[in-house]
Subunit: 313 residues, 2 copies
Amino acid sequence: MADHFGDRLCTAVQIKATSLTVGVDPVYARLPAEIREHRRMNDENDVAAAVDAIFDFCTRVLRVVAPLVPAVKLNIAFFERYFWEGLEAYYALISEADDLGVETIGDVKRGDIGSTAEHYAAAHLQNPEYTGLEDVIVPDAATINGFAGADGIEPFARMADAQGKGVFVWVRASNPSAAVIQDFVDAEGRMFYEKLAEVVGQVANEPHRIGASGYSNVGMVVGGTGAPKAAELRARYPHVWFLVPGFGSQGATAEDCVRFCNPDGRGALINASRSILYAYENPEYKERFGDNWEKCIEQAVISAKIQLAKAMR
Amino acid sequence: MADHFGDRLCTAVQIKATSLTVGVDPVYARLPAEIREHRRMNDENDVAAAVDAIFDFCTRVLRVVAPLVPAVKLNIAFFERYFWEGLEAYYALISEADDLGVETIGDVKRGDIGSTAEHYAAAHLQNPEYTGLEDVIVPDAATINGFAGADGIEPFARMADAQGKGVFVWVRASNPSAAVIQDFVDAEGRMFYEKLAEVVGQVANEPHRIGASGYSNVGMVVGGTGAPKAAELRARYPHVWFLVPGFGSQGATAEDCVRFCNPDGRGALINASRSILYAYENPEYKERFGDNWEKCIEQAVISAKIQLAKAMR
């Protein structure tokens, strides 16, 4: 079981008894005062100080959430903006999360054709063997952009096969303008994102990609409020894990999100980022826990798990 | 003129008298023997040695090609596979190219929604102001993925506006499977990529984005053989710069590519990568120039320029 990503997710969801995952999208200006204030030079304009503070914050967040959820999702853009200093911190946090026994998803949305896709796959799904990078651990899975079609997806899927990793292809976003592009309709009323899902489904359903659990190592990213035909997608691709962002701050309700679970409760990872990461900004938690920001985050995870569990009933 | 990317491209194309751009996609195994053999430890498995060799090669390539072409395109995937070590080299090469007076395009294909897009835009289109990164220069333009629609494109376009930079949105690829996705047809016979081009065109045609030259700072990436309706695209978006990859090794002919130029010869950057970067592998050049690999690259640039000039007549 352990070497197949789809299987590992089944185990993780069962053990943690939830589909909830936590997105780690750290923004310096929103870090708890305690962390911003004790860093060297206390200066967000110093790249080393800013990255240090973010690393410290994220490490402590991971310690709180890892025992409670099957997976965490790290959004690389929030690190990439600190250039190579940020990238080093990103991979260090993947290692931290790995040590804590939680599945890790690199939200990198990479995508290109041919050999470029192979190089991206090497960066995000293969532990480097170079002298000088021996300790680097890449995520258990990466999100990718499937715009180039099957031969842009396959290099990532093949790398995932070889490395025991997973891939989530971005199929439908939930931002306001996504519909203009992604719901583009053909003569039969079929939407573009359904066509893209079909291409991803073909890659995912290759027999060697289906693990003992019945799930593939190739999944789809579908926004919680984004897919007009969520139930159809779920039914049409029973072997696929859906990664469902947008629970909480982006406006998707627990009910919206659990539509992507199979009847047995598996098959979807429902991600909340800001509503958990910055729970200490929430007046309700603030009143209950004061400056104990880790307690606020813990409570937000527990509340979100309860919401999802209720919606599943 | 100088502060508007669309205008700068007009000047650069005029001065260098060509639409040809060179793509820098370095692969260690294909580096000239001279470079691979003199590096410390002579070991491609040592990340520092590999990145050193790649940096040395690319610097020398830039010195050869910068006087001959208006722009160079660096593909970040080939650096990203060396993790943060590679990323540092990527930005150092952007600086080198900038010093050589050539426009630089970061081929990064980033794309996501909302605040994530803003963070990517900061990483790729804004010179950092952090202490510790004062010397970093970001590219003059970046390629992005427009899958999220207008509100995934706007954060990049706004950053480009503010920083005097440019954006090229990936509209149509030329890999075999791209057609399945990108030529998805609606009831009126309109293809998905045309819809995407329309969205990009609206962003590009905002009056404040059009420079004195009549060109926008927001362009499109369209594969040389990829767009069934190239002439229509050109006519429909006269203010847009097209970045046309695939000339040479990927099979697009000079005639395929110059369809994206306006009648006055402006409006398209026609990119060749491998056919120029590895010209020293070409038996014809090898025979003429022996181990002088820089001479081979120079000659390949000159030949490609002549091919394009002939096709334009």
